[in-house]
């Protein structure tokens, strides 16, 4: 592959799309709702269940309200981009394939320090967990690498490998930038041009302005809706309500409006919804088989 002088943010995404398409992945699109990670995308959550093989890759804008730093932190932001890859079943050479993808991005592995550092991943709200690593590139966590074991509280019959690239971090690495807002998105615009103001306002909203009473109402209503929709057999709409309640929870959390006592209860509520969605999905798979 011919290497351009600077790998721009968009070039990085395009290289990943090409690489994973060549690996037989479906190149999917981001989900159009607020979510904390690509794991929440239905093409991850539902497709990891059941016995059928599945390969997918996509960008997912991700929101973590508590990570907002008013654009002051060079690494952390309350909204950022993940590149999500699911390989199901996980191939035996999955680590090697992953490392090849880094090389395709222009990272010379001989010159850098790559580590697979233990990370036991868990999403208490999705009832999902897996074992794997944070991948460190010269100490920078650039990818979350997980072998899913359970999703929606269900033991998976076929193990998926989930690769979640932190796009900004890899771009910073490639471009030698100290600050994510200085990243070149293309040859004219920076990441900051597009997102700095949004990040400042988003942080102010998350930490100062978000109406916690309103978020609590959203949370409860979405929660009730999810239940109703599941009873009506509408699995994806029910799951979307779960996404809404999960985001409302995160906002309440950022505002410090979740007490230590109620925290486990609220999380368990979302997890139960996720579990019911997963069970309903598997039930439908069986019916359609």
């Amino acid at each position: 592959m011919k290497r351009t002088k600077t790998v721009t943010f968009q070039e990085l995404i395009m290289r990943l799309e090409r690489f994973w398409a060549d690996q037989g992945c479906l190149i999917a699109q981001p989900y159009d709702m607020e979510m904390g990670a690509g794991t929440f995308h239905p093409m991850t959550f539902f497709k990891a269940l059941g016995p059928d093989p599945w390969r997918v890759a996509f960008v997912q804008p991700s929101r973590r309200p508590t990570d907002g730093r008013y654009a002051q932190n060079p690494l952390r932001a309350q909204r950022y981009y993940q590149y999500q890859v699911i390989l199901k079943p996980a191939p035996a050479d999955v680590q090697a394939v992953y490392l090849r993808s880094l090389e395709v991005l222009g990272i010379d592995l001989k010159s850098h320090d790559v580590r697979f550092v233990q990370d036991d991943w868990e999403s208490p709200t999705l009832g999902a967990w897996g074992l794997g690593w944070e991948v460190w590139l010269d100490g920078l966590e650039v990818t979350q690498f997980t072998y899913f074991q359970q999703v929606g509280g269900i033991d998976l019959p076929v193990i998926s490998a989930e690769l979640t690239y932190g796009l900004e971090r890899i771009a910073m690495f490639l471009q030698g930038k100290l600050d994510l807002y200085a990243l070149e998105w293309n040859d004219r615009l920076t990441y900051g041009d597009l997102h700095r103001q949004e990040e400042i306002e988003g942080s102010a909203y998350n930490f100062e302005q978000a109406d916690t009473a309103l978020q609590r109402r959203y949370f409860e209503e979405a929660f009730a809706q999810a239940k109703k929709l599941l009873e009506a057999g509408l699995i994806l709409p029910a799951y979307e309500q779960l996404l809404k309640s999960s985001h409302a929870f995160n906002l309440m959390d950022a505002r410090g409006a979740v007490s230590v006592n109620e925290r486990p209860t609220l999380i368990a509520g979302i997890r139960n919804s996720a579990k019911r969605c997963a069970e309903a999905y598997l039930e439908r798979l069986k019916e359609n088989a």
């Binding site: 730093r69 002051q72 932190n73 060079p74 690494l75 952390r76 079943p89 996980a90 035996a92 680590q95 010379d108 001989k110 010159s111 850098h112 320090d113 790559v114 580590r115 697979f116 550092v117 233990q118 036991d120 897996g130 074992l131 690593w133 590139l137 010269d138 100490g139 920078l140 072998y147 074991q149 076929v158 193990i159 690495f173 100290l178 007490s259 230590v260 006592n261």
Partner: protein, 768 residues
């Protein structure tokens, strides 16, 4: 018995056995967690690590072996079994001889199929007398390689990990996916299937070397090959076979030691030194670094000096926890330098570029820490106190804010009992008030392990005097078994009060630890409390004579209506809980014999003299006093010059104590009437006693226990003579009661105030 058949049964000729050989197993993995490797190479998690699993598998299957050696890196676990016997003789009983041969002596179908099953001819079968009559018996040799084929999966499954996972459709579990198996017996490959992995003769180099594949011909050539591939193995536990059992051989964490040496040298090159190597944090970082690289390479880097304005603990914790970097301290250890040491996997082509990258990431972390620091120090520590009313301590125990007045009461009770003038009332109240305020800071939310330390820094920023800031910083000490106890009076008071309040609260609502479940770490809390009481205290403080019982009263009162357990039961449970920690520290940590501990803890247990077991006695409520007495007792017990004195004193206690105990359940005791003593030895003892008693009483009172033991031992000849000549249990009740009262007085004079010496292991020991 048919003659022909027995002719056909030959004994097995004693074949010359080939020499034993070494067995090598390499389990090639995707990166194993650094925290799991020390477990897998040593005692393992619930069930044992690789060494134990292997030793059990070999010995359990009667395979002769000499030594087991184990090694590991993030990408491999290695088992090297030396001197494995090549052929294992097996025997299996078959059908009874009557059934195996017909009346003509011809083998039946039963005999034929039994022989066939073992690939033997009828003529090769033996006969064996068993409990169920004479039976055919197949004796046959199995090459060890064949047994190993079945055994290797058992060994692998026998390694216990905190968490395991599945990775392919075979469903086998391990800490991380296994990607290759190398199994050799001598130069012969051992064929194994584990999940979907087939064994072979190939090993692979480090990722830095591009995972180069190399065929291994023998176990002996494996280790030099790995050295060439730059794979540094860490040693695990070794075992030596002892026939049916096995015992550990000393092993050396060579890789860890080598890395420490290189880190220390690198720190020196930075004109500094490493952090305190004895702390738990340092131990963790060193172990993690050892097990996070196959070929550890140390590189030094630096950060901008302006970040040194942040608390050094924040910088060090941020470096260690987030990036696994070693901090570098000034040669006297007082200051942090703006340097760090990174441990990399192999030497990268552009090491400087790697370090520069790490520096950038570290800077981002420090920016984050500064963000917290600035946000936290915008307001005063005092201003954070009201927020503690919203921090739940435990749902049954209210909020952290509610703890403040209780901590203050306990601290005042302590200061009163210890009659220390320093700290002042203001300082004491101030510490109680703001000690917990850092729990609502962003910094502690980010680095929970720095609670207290952060509070101390923020108090300093806010202008609090050094006594107060140090006490806040020390309030959680000792955090771990090796952590020092608080070094200041005020720090000691707040740490004790914190632990007392916590223990009383949890026990008071029935949340005490059960079995191995201790979700609130109450054992650790209590251990720290006892350590503060018994370990050398800060200058000007002595805990001897401190009544823990009174502290419990104060604490229970201050908890008020939240307590659901009645105070008497609660206090008893708490006393027992603390005594158990006391016993643990004395026995496990300091190696003091249990009998000595029991002697001290049961001293003066209610007035019940010699009740057995660890009773909560009023003397044992003074744990510092008990410790002081225990150390003296231990000194006498272990000092060959002093031991004879102690034995004499103990014999006095044993003989008098035994008879008093027997009488307690029957007659009771009278008042001593010296006029009623008849026998000469009795009168003699009484005369001596009248000289000794006041001395012992006075010496015990003055805590001159050494002297008290010596005084008491002087009774031995008369006591001995007394028991040789006088029958205490006289028929006459009055005589009997009089003698018993005397014995009781002698016994209790030392057992109440010092230790019940009759508890010492005296069997077979006579005074010289």
């Amino acid at each position: 018995m048919p003659a022909r058949a027995s002719e056909g049964l030959r004994t097995h000729p004693p074949a010359r056995r080939p020499a034993s050989d070494d067995f090598l197993l390499e389990i090639g993995c995707e990166e194993l967690p650094a925290d799991y490797l020390p477990l897998a190479l040593n005692w393992g998690e619930s069930g044992g690590g690789l060494p134990f699993s292997a030793a059990c598998a070999f010995s359990g299957n009667k395979i002769g072996w000499q030594e087991i050696w184990t090694y590991g890196t993030p990408r491999r676990l290695v088992l090297w079994v030396k001197g494995v016997e090549p052929v294992i003789n097996k025997s299996e009983e078959g059908p009874p001889v009557q059934i195996a041969f017909d009346s003509q002596g011809k083998p039946t179908r039963a005999a034929e199929s039994f022989a066939q099953r073992h690939g033997l001819k009828i003529s090769q079968l033996k006969r064996k007398q068993t409990a169920k009559g004479e039976r055919l018996c197949a004796e046959y040799d199995v090459p060890v390689t064949k047994i190993l084929t079945d055994l290797i999966p058992v060994i692998i499954k026998g390694i216990g990990f905190p968490k395991t996972m599945r990775w392919d459709e075979s469903g086998v579990r391990f800490a991380r996916p296994i990607r290759w198996l190398l199994a050799l017996y001598g130069s012969k490959p051992v064929s194994v299937l584990f999940g979907r992995i087939k064994s072979g003769k190939t090993t692979y180099g480090t990722r830095r070397c591009g995972g180069k594949a190399v065929v291994i011909s023998t176990p002996a050539s494996y280790f030099p090959t790995l050295t060439r591939l730059k794979v540094h193995l860490e040693e695990g536990l070794h075992y030596k076979s002892k026939g049916d059992s096995f015992e550990p051989l000393p092993s050396h964490p060579r890789k860890r030691e080598e890395l420490l040496k290189r880190l220390a040298a690198a720190a020196k090159r930075c004109a500094g030194r490493l952090a305190d190597e004895t702390t738990e944090e340092f131990g963790w970082l060193l172990s993690t670094s050892t097990f996070l690289a196959e070929e550890p390479v140390v590189e030094a880097g630096s950060f901008r000096k302006e970040y040194l304005e942040l608390p050094p603990e924040v910088l060090a914790t941020s470096m260690a926890k987030h990036l696994k970097l070693f901090s570098v301290h000034s040669p006297n250890g007082e200051k942090l330098l703006n340097r760090f040491l990174a441990v990399l996997e192999g030497k990268p082509a552009k090491a400087a570029a790697v370090v520069a990258n790490i520096e950038r990431i570290l800077e981002a972390r420090f920016v984050d820490a500064r963000f917290f620091y600035q946000a936290d120090t915008k307001g005063s520590l005092e201003g954070k106190v009201p927020h503690l009313q919203k921090v739940v301590f435990h749902e049954k125990l209210g909020t952290v804010g509610e703890r403040i007045p209780r901590l203050e009461r306990l601290m005042k009770n302590l200061a009163g009992q210890l009659s220390i003038a320093d700290p002042t009332r203001w300082e004491l109240e101030r510490v109680a008030r703001v000690a917990k305020a850092d729990l609502v800071t962003q910094m502690v939310r980010e680095f929970p392990s720095l609670q207290g330390i952060i509070g101390g820094h923020y108090a300093k920023v806010g202008g609090d005097p050094v006594d107060v800031t140090e006490a806040i910083a020390q309030q959680y000490q000792p955090r771990t078994a090796n952590d020092p106890i608080p070094s200041t009076a005020l720090g000691t008071l707040v740490s004790l009060a914190d632990r007392l309040d916590t223990l009383i609260g949890y026990f008071g609502v029935g949340l005490k630890p059960t079995g191995s479940a201790d979700p609130y770490s109450l054992r650790r809390q209590a251990m720290g409390l006892v350590r503060i009481l018994i370990d050398p205290p800060p200058e000007g403080i002595s805990f001897v004579g401190l009544s823990i019982d009174r502290l419990f009263d104060e604490g229970i009162q201050s908890w008020g209506s939240r307590m659901t357990i009645d105070p008497k039961t609660l206090k008893k449970e708490l006393h027992v809980f603390l005594e158990e920690r006391f016993e643990w520290l004395a026995f496990v940590r300091d190696g003091i014999p249990r009998e000595l501990i029991a002697a001290v803890l049961t001293a003066g247990s209610d007035d019940s003299e010699i009740t057995s077991g660890a009773a909560s006695s009023s003397r044992s409520h003074d744990l510092a006093g008990a410790w002081e007495r225990l150390k003296i007792l231990q000194k006498f017990w272990t000092d060959p010059k002093r031991k004879p004195v102690l034995i004499k004193a103990a014999k006095v206690a044993e003989r008098t104590g035994r008879i008093v105990k027997a009488a307690k359940e029957t007659d009771g005791f009278g008042k001593i009437n010296p006029e009623a003593f008849k026998e000469s030895s009795e009168k003699k003892l009484w005369a001596v006693w009248n000289q000794v008693a006041p001395k012992v009483q006075e010496q015990v009172k003055r805590r001159q226990y050494r002297e008290a033991i010596t005084s008491y031992s002087a009774l031995y000849p008369e006591v001995h003579e007394f028991f040789e000549t006088v029958f205490v249990m006289d028929e006459n009740l009055e005589v009997r009661k009089n003698r018993l009262a005397f014995m009781k007085e002698i016994f209790q004079s030392l057992s109440n105030g010092f230790a019940d010496l009759s508890k010492l292991p005296l069997a077979g020991i006579e005074p010289s």
